[in-house]
């Protein structure tokens, strides 16, 4: 596989993506909004009722942190859906497939184009979130809560896996539908399992500590591998040209 060719495909998609303001805003707004919203909750609660007790803060912050696994599950879907369904609509896949590029190189390019903005936006949001939370909680905790091993695991393992799963789901959806909105909505369903995990933690069914995050990471990795197989199967020249509608 020639990674340079995948990068050419990704760079072209990123260039198109930067020109589509709605997709751009969707990618940027959610991570930035949440990165400010959670510290705001801490700040408001501290002003109203003397604040959240120091002992309760880590559990709350761990819950907040899990949103940085949910964000990359949501953000890539419009880009991934546009990247493939957009090509279908513009009927630009045939000339692309006629180039000396393998199916895998093209698909990897599509993956990168959707994955990278999601991860960059997530990391940017996480940086703002960590800075604000540390500045707001230092007085109560007397130490910097972030960075820590759990959040490192979240950002370096879970967030990329979550983004990967989302891209894979969007690719599968894109191969079966012919409009961007449907593909985006179907791919977007990938955030539901993560919301389920979050709700389970809120209901006290699980604790989002490092051990739990490692287990979640292992499960996500297996699911990502399975979805990779499923998502690459319909992405062959013959399938695209003869079966995709």
């Amino acid at each position: 596989m020639n990674l340079a060719k995948s990068w050419i495909v990704a760079a072209k998609d990123l260039k198109s993506f930067l020109r589509k303001r709605t997709v751009l805003y969707t990618t940027v707004i959610l991570p930035l909004m949440l990165s400010v919203l959670f510290p705001l909750v801490i700040e408001i609660s501290s002003r109203k009722s003397g604040g959240i007790p120091a002992a309760s803060l880590p559990a709350l912050l761990n819950s907040f942190a899990f949103f940085f696994v949910i964000i990359p599950a949501i953000v890539p879907t419009p880009i991934a859906s546009y990247s493939i369904v957009g090509e279908k609509i513009e009927k630009s896949l045939e000339p692309l497939l006629a180039t000396p590029t393998t199916d895998g190189e093209i698909l990897l390019g599509k993956y990168l184009a959707a994955f990278l903005p999601a991860i960059v936006a997530t990391y940017a949001g996480a940086t703002i979130y960590m800075t604000l939370i540390d500045s707001l909680t230092y007085g109560k905790l007397h130490y910097l809560y972030y960075p820590n091993s759990g959040f490192a695991l979240t950002l370096l393992v879970l967030a990329p896996l979550s983004a990967t799963l989302s891209v894979e789901a969007s690719v599968i959806a894109s191969s079966r539908v012919s409009d961007v909105r449907s593909a985006s909505q179907l791919g977007g369903l990938m955030f539901l399992p993560f919301m389920g995990i979050y709700l389970a933690s809120e209901l006290g069914l699980i604790t989002l500590d490092t051990n739990t995050l490692l287990i979640i990471g292992a499960i996500l990795a297996v699911v990502a591998l399975v979805l990779f197989r499923v998502s690459t199967a319909p992405f062959s020249r013959e399938e695209i040209l003869t079966k995709w509608k």
């Binding site: 060719k5 009927k91 003869t242």
Partner: protein, 306 residues
Amino acid sequence: MIEAQGLTKKFGDLTAVDGVSFKVEEGEVFGFLGPNGAGKTTTVRMLCCLISKTSGEARIADYDVGKDSDSLMIRKIIGLVPDNVGLYDDLTAYDNLEFYGKLYGCTEAQRKENIERFLKMLGLWDKKDVTAGTFSKGMKQKLAIARALIHDPRVLFMDEPTVNLDPESSKTVRDFILELKKEKKTVFLNTHNLDEAQKICDRIAILNTKLMAIGTAEELERSVRGRQTEVQLVQVNDAIMGALGRLSTGKVTRDGNSITVDVLDPEKENPEIVRAIVGAGGDVQSVSINTSTLEDAYLKLVKETK
């Protein structure tokens, strides 16, 4: 340059292309004529290694179509103008070509040179920084042709390149194909525009799932009913019919005071026919040559397969 032998493609029970065999020489403009659903696009897709063949053999240059290791090499030496132009509407004309130039592995200098060269040749250089989505159909078609040529391919496959174009844009595209021929590029042209095929193709194949005929436009025209000489006389009698019967020409038929003679070479045979008629006492009023057109050939061959 292109060779197909018994090329077949089946989609389940449906045979889209059935045992097609032909050869296209280097520098030739080869027309592939056929009605909608005849298998023209499927044939091109097989030759471009976009879809697999069910059976048969095909080669482009020295590479085997269908052999995995040769597929990338084939795609390097061919250019494809598909029936749907498939441009990136939100990218400029220049960026569309730049993207493909990179994918074909052209150096920056080659890309720059070829983009300028082809956009200028096709009259789009002034629009290089305009997004393709704002282009007219004709401009988009020209840009798609430039895209297919960006890596200077040896073979260009064009699928209905002038469909939906106005006459002026169609002529620009046809003239451009003839320019490519001068550069010794092999052009494989899918079309159902008979006039276009006749004007620019060295040879034409008529396809309707099976290959019905192949040859120059003239050969195809002759293949329908050959050439006929029609002689209008003041009066036809048995002596005239007898005199014509003794000639080595083809079949002679009489219709009132008109006689039709099947001929192979009208320039050589017509004087003999007139001499024979006059010698038998006939008064010739007019002599005309009836030839069938490419359209006659096409319609007859396509009808035969229905």
